[in-house]
Amino acid sequence: MTKPNLENTFPNPVRSAFETTPRDDTVIVNIGPSHPATHGTVQIIAELDGEKVLRTDVHCGYLHRGFEKECESHTWANLIPYVDRLNYVSALINDFAYCEAVEKLMGIEITPRCRYLRTLLSEYSRIVDHLTCIAAGLMELGAMTAFLYLVMVRDYMYEHLADLTGARVTYSYGRIGGLARDLPDGWLTRLAGILDKYEVFVARVHGLMDRNRIFIDRMRNVGVISTADAVNWGYTGPILRSTGAPRDLRRDTPYLAYADLDFAIPVGINGDNYDRYYVRMCEMDESAHMIRQLMDSLPAGPINVEDRRCVLPEKKLVYTEIESLINHFKLVMDGPQVPAGDVYSAHESPNGELGFYIVSTGEGIPYKVHARAPSFVHMGGVHRMLDGYQLADIVPTFGSVNMIGGECDR
């Protein structure tokens, strides 16, 4: 039996930026897209001189599922589960950023309680996201204990968020003009308990890692990027802050309730892997500090605005009066009618600036939804952090960039 010539039958879906090497003592290797040492589905084609990485060509798109195309055939409200799946580690922040963009177009101002709850949940999500990123990054370096400490705390948070939203990871909890439901009884008490636990275990991770010789040798002066380079390559979030630039949308262009809060912006010195680790660790502490302030000052009142253009009427009314029944029917079937126009709205997601550019033609279905995902932009410049270091450094550097396939590939 002759073997079929697969090469001619199926074209290679990826064309490398370089297929030949200018020197005869270097070699091109392919890492990924599914590689046990990288978290995230990404392909890195690298030219190596021994163990040293000379240049890299980063390919993403393996999780592309036509998010933006799909958005153009569902109502504005039905998109909330989809935006959840962009950054699935901090889905609530995606929810809120998207809802805020739609609310801007509709000219809606959310209620004070909703504003505070969204802020609180955004910070809670930021802790979850950073815990995941740090835990995975440490595990890839062999730090199993630190990993287990962190994901254990994360799981308390997941379960706790499930009490509120009904799901552990993809919550679909934001609503245009408010939130799905108010806090259950005792939720804040449990939150305080979890934050205390968080502090115990994060302190242990500090003790295990911060001055650990092996850890420092792997992280310090690896994957260095300067502030000027970071800005030029579109870096935002913890990576930009790790270079020493205190740039944070929560402070620079305050949204939600951030203007009312006291918090610091941790920055790094060197822009290397260690700084990115440390900036994230400190940011979690700031988030916990913010959550405590928000818990103390959480205003009472409704969580949804009084606006029949987007918020579903009370169930009791739907069953008893025709106007509410029609209102409910129209909102579910046709979707909220969003005035024509376009808007760009950005939130500080755990990875950087998460922006939604949405275009409406005045209908219940969006004309266009574009997500400016930080991970995607970061992938465009990640070669700056990989080139010139060791092959083994790709793993911690890539981990510290925290590429999330869901939002990168959309």
Partner: protein
């Protein structure tokens, strides 16, 4: 953005004959595609818009020119934002690339090229990014049906 900078920016660009407006608090500048590089250069040097956030397109079939290319910029100095819009035709969907000014333009222009078929003159690397080699068409164009299949490997009979 601080008010004086915003006013100065609007005044300067309106004087050059561009269509300057404000949408939901963000200055929006519409101009012919040929003016792109000059305006972006000015934004970068004079108005300190150092972070290139995003480029995407909006497809308006039936309108001429058909495609609207939309840029967003942010300043890490004064925290202002600005949106640029320019139109390109279906026959010649070409705009100048911004890779010479911003590194981040490379990947984002590649994505826009994938999705809408906008050609960025001067971007040396417009290989498919979120799509794959051999993908036919541009999926975010309005005339691309959502259900269309392009199996790389033929389905088993």
């Amino acid at each position: 953005m601080t008010a004086p900078t915003l006013e100065r920016l609007k005044e300067r660009l309106a004087r050059a004959g561009n269509d300057v407006s404000t949408a939901h608090g963000m200055p929006v500048i519409a101009f012919p595609a040929a003016a792109l590089l000059g305006i972006v250069q000015e934004l970068r040097t004079e108005f300190e818009f150092d972070l290139f956030l995003d480029v995407t397109a909006v497809d308006w079939p039936g309108q001429a020119p058909r495609f609207e290319v939309v840029y967003h910029f942010y300043s890490t100095k004064h925290f202002g934002r600005v949106r640029l819009k320019t139109r390109v035709s279906e026959q010649d969907p070409t705009v100048d690339s911004l890779v010479s000014l911003y590194g981040s333009a490379g990947f984002m222009e590649r994505e826009c090229h994938d999705m809408y078929g906008i050609a960025f003159r001067g971007n040396p690397d417009l290989r498919p990014l979120l799509l794959y080699e051999g993908f036919v068409g541009h999926p975010l164009r309005k005339d691309y049906p959502k259900e269309r299949e392009q199996p790389l490997v033929p389905y088993r009979k």
